[in-house]
């Protein structure tokens, strides 16, 4: 993802894009690695589940799962931890996609945890994103899941860059970065004690660019908000905060209509779009190559609080 983009090069690329055959040795290798890991989870664990949000990374994993097991044969349920603050375009897409695949979709809600009293917000406007960990651990206990497959990538964040593909979690769901199991060759030690589980990251080695190239190559359908659309936003310290019922403009802020798309989707209260006119995966590949700010840096309000915030959250059981 180099920062230098020259118009002439882009124009040549766009013209040639249509003329070439689909061949990318690197994507082939990543796909094969992902399929190998997805099959290993199916075989090595008794009750795995695949975390499915309807976002681009989980849709790439689903595509690989279709290839690994055949359409309609994905041998584990899909699990969504819903904060109740999701973009409707994404949740609708999630439900439709699960139905098309004939997959079992389990949704567990942070709001139910709040009703049970296991999640308490510091104040009503607080982001529910971090509280997903509680609901997730409750779902793990309810269904006795022993492996949860997630679409996290090592290029997203420094703590994630340190995590193993098969990441051992103790009975509190905690990641112990100093005591990770060695991961030698492709010999994955999947042994568990009672109450422990694994988080498994089959697309660890993919970058944002790889994901978009794969989406383009495989014609993977995505929720519409990944592509350019007009949206009311306010500019808050460089982030374009979407104007919604949950995130109204603050006093003194001017609401503007901008051409935007989402680079990542998540909880409405902490996910921001970027300015863009990209309407197709090909457009986004080129935008990604030219990007000067990372996916999370451009879009997430909750990662900026401290350099170690993701690590701390993972130690607390977060994905």
């Amino acid at each position: 993802m180099n920062a230098r983009t020259e118009n002439a090069v882009i124009q040549t690329a766009l013209q040639q894009a249509h003329d070439h055959h689909l061949s990318n040795a690197h994507l082939d290798a990543l796909e094969e690695e992902t399929i190998f890991i997805l099959r290993e989870v199916a075989a090595a664990f008794e009750r795995p589940a695949l975390l499915f949000s309807g976002g681009k990374d989980s849709l790439v994993m689903l595509k690989c799962a279709e290839k690994a097991f055949g359409v309609g044969r994905i041998p584990y349920p899909l699990l969504m931890i819903d904060t109740g603050h999701n973009f409707p375009e994404v949740t609708d897409f999630r439900d439709q996609r699960a139905k098309e695949l004939g997959a079992e979709l389990i949704v567990r809600n942070v709001e139910d945890s709040m009703a049970r009293g296991t999640v308490r917000l510091a104040h009503p406007g607080e982001s529910r994103n971090v509280h997903q960990s509680v609901t997730l651990l409750e779902a793990i206990e309810e269904f006795r899941f022993d492996a949860l497959i997630g679409g996290a990538r090592r290029d997203e964040e420094k703590a994630r860059a340190k995590e193993r593909i098969f990441s051992h979690r103790d009975s509190f769901g905690q990641w112990q970065p100093k005591a990770q199991r060695p991961e030698l060759w492709t010999l994955f030690n999947t042994r568990l004690q009672q109450g422990e589980h694994f988080r498994v990251f089959p697309i660890s080695n993919w970058t944002e660019l790889d994901v978009w190239q794969y989406i383009a190559r495989e014609n993977i359908a995505l929720p519409s908000i990944y592509y350019t659309h007009q949206r009311e936003v306010v500019d808050r310290r460089g982030l374009l905060v979407p104007v919604t019922e949950l995130t109204p403009p603050r006093d003194g802020e001017t609401v503007q209509v901008r051409d935007v798309r989402f680079r990542t989707v998540g909880d409405i209260t902490c996910t921001c779009p970027v300015e863009s006119l990209a309407a197709t995966p090909d457009d986004i590949v080129i935008e990604t190559l030219a990007a000067e700010v990372s996916e999370r840096g451009a879009t997430r309000m909750d990662d900026k609080t401290s350099d170690a915030s993701m690590e701390k959250r993972k130690k607390d059981g977060y994905f």
């Binding site: 290798a29 964040e157 970065p177 492709t186 995966p281």
Partner: protein, 435 residues
């Protein structure tokens, strides 16, 4: 940036080189990776802004992502980073230097195509023509050789900080070459660098001839290294990873089950006779699917789905092995193996203990019969030992609960590698390389 990279559908035959950096603490590994990323324009603005310390850019902070690492200023676990140049893509594992984190270095090395061993010139008695290398340089080089990392590059760092960089580079190079020759470590290149200042890492022009060195920069060397070839020349061997059953049918004739896995050695096509390990039954391959279910022959390193011509008892963990002219080709299953072990657990290895051993997708119980010897990493001498301490390397003999078809690790990474797992703690305790 290339046209191939810009266009999502254009031909892009660049494969990724899996690379690790290793060396002692404070030799500048994280700084070197930061330098590679920054000078090849692979670092985004917000990440660069996040590594400012006292008004200066601290490149090591780009990879040291754990809070304990930032507190202590050391690398604890492997960080994986990704970048690409016009010539190729790279996956870099930044491995820790501390002896206590050897297991993490071994983790990174087991999947690496190439390794850069950093040598800190300021820590050596560089003016001495017969200088001693640091123990970690020897240990890491030895581990890389044992693990068969195909390309090993020594990068002599901090030469900008010594009085006579040309003399220092010459003496250190001589010491490295002498050690490598003694230990039979294949050395691809020795290159002088300053990770801090960026000399000879990505760009050479300004400092051509520095240290009397006129060769390629580190990045130029890395761009030319090969990826690890698969074991295609050996007979076919395949570990069954996942059995796909077509439920809802009582028909158990040909084609009712597909055995998925990765071809370890050789290649497979319809008509191949195979023996199933451990039960010894034989069958003929009726159909081979690639990972997207198109019928075709599949070679080592790739996933395959295999359908046999008859109903035989095959389950996850079993091996399908080539049979030529009615007799098994080279592979014999044995109940006892001898192996080099890299001991990774905090608990000491003692003879008599039973561990889980994982070979391919098969778990068997393995008992440590005896420690043949321990390797002295300073002298490479084989010494008597009653136990192996954490991070030790030695030779051991094991008795297996069930026979396994192995090959020496020197001949096949897949058939020659196992891990040992502690039956009580479930920790991954040892890396085994079959002798």
């Amino acid at each position: 940036m290339t046209v191939a990279e810009l266009s999502p559908t254009a031909q892009d035959t660049r494969s990724a080189l899996r690379l690790i950096t290793c060396g002692s603490v404070d030799d500048g590994k994280s700084t070197l990776i930061g330098r590679l990323l920054v000078d090849s324009k692979a670092v985004l603005q917000d990440h660069l802004a996040g590594v400012q310390r006292h008004g200066q850019t601290d490149l090591a902070l780009l990879t040291d992502g754990l809070s304990a690492e930032r507190e202590q200023g050391i690398t604890i676990d492997v960080a994986y980073r990704y970048f690409s140049t016009e010539a190729r893509k790279f996956i870099i594992g930044d491995a820790p230097g501390h002896e206590q984190y050897t297991r993490n270095m071994v983790t990174a090395a087991s999947s690496a195509d190439a390794a850069v061993v950093l040598v800190d010139a300021t820590k050596l008695n560089w003016a001495d023509a017969a200088l001693q290398l640091l123990p970690q340089t020897r240990r890491h080089s030895l581990l890389l050789k044992l693990l068969r990392v195909p390309s090993i590059v020594f990068a002599v760092n901090k030469l900008d900080a010594v009085e006579d960089s040309a003399v220092a580079f010459r003496h250190i190079t001589d010491a490295l070459q002498a050690f490598a020759a003694q230990a039979e470590i294949p050395v691809t290149a020795v290159v002088p660098v300053s990770a801090l200042k960026g000399w000879n890492v990505v760009d050479a022009s300004e400092h051509a001839g520095w240290c009397d060195y006129n060769g390629p920069t580190l990045l130029e060397i890395l761009e030319g290294l090969p990826v690890t070839p698969s074991d295609t020349a050996l007979p076919f061997a395949f570990a069954v990873q996942w059995v796909e059953k077509f439920s809802g049918s009582s028909d158990t004739s040909q084609g009712r089950r597909v055995f998925w896995g990765r071809v370890a050695t050789g290649s497979v096509q319809p008509g191949q006779s195979v023996r199933i390990m451990p039960n010894g039954q034989t069958a003929v391959v009726a159909q081979v699917l690639n990972h997207v279910r198109n019928p075709q022959a599949v070679t080592a390193g790739h996933s395959a789905g295999i359908v046999l011509d008859r109903e035989v008892d095959v389950s996850r963990g079993d091996w399908l092995l080539a049979v030529e002219d009615g007799s098994p080709a080279t592979l014999e299953a044995k109940r006892e193996i001898r192996a080099t072990v890299a001991w990774l657990d905090d608990e000491t290895l003692v003879p008599g203990r039973v561990y889980w051993a994982l070979h391919g997708h098969r778990w068997v119980k393995a008992k440590i019969k005896r420690i043949v010897h321990r390797l002295d990493i300073h002298t490479l001498a084989e010494e008597d030992a009653q136990q192996l301490e954490p991070n030790a390397i030695g030779h051991i003999e094991l008795a297996l609960q069930e026979p396994l078809a192995t090959l020496p690790f020197e001949r096949s990474r897949t058939l020659g590698s196992l891990v040992l797992v502690d039956t009580a703690s479930h920790r991954t305790s040892g890396a085994l390389l079959v002798l």
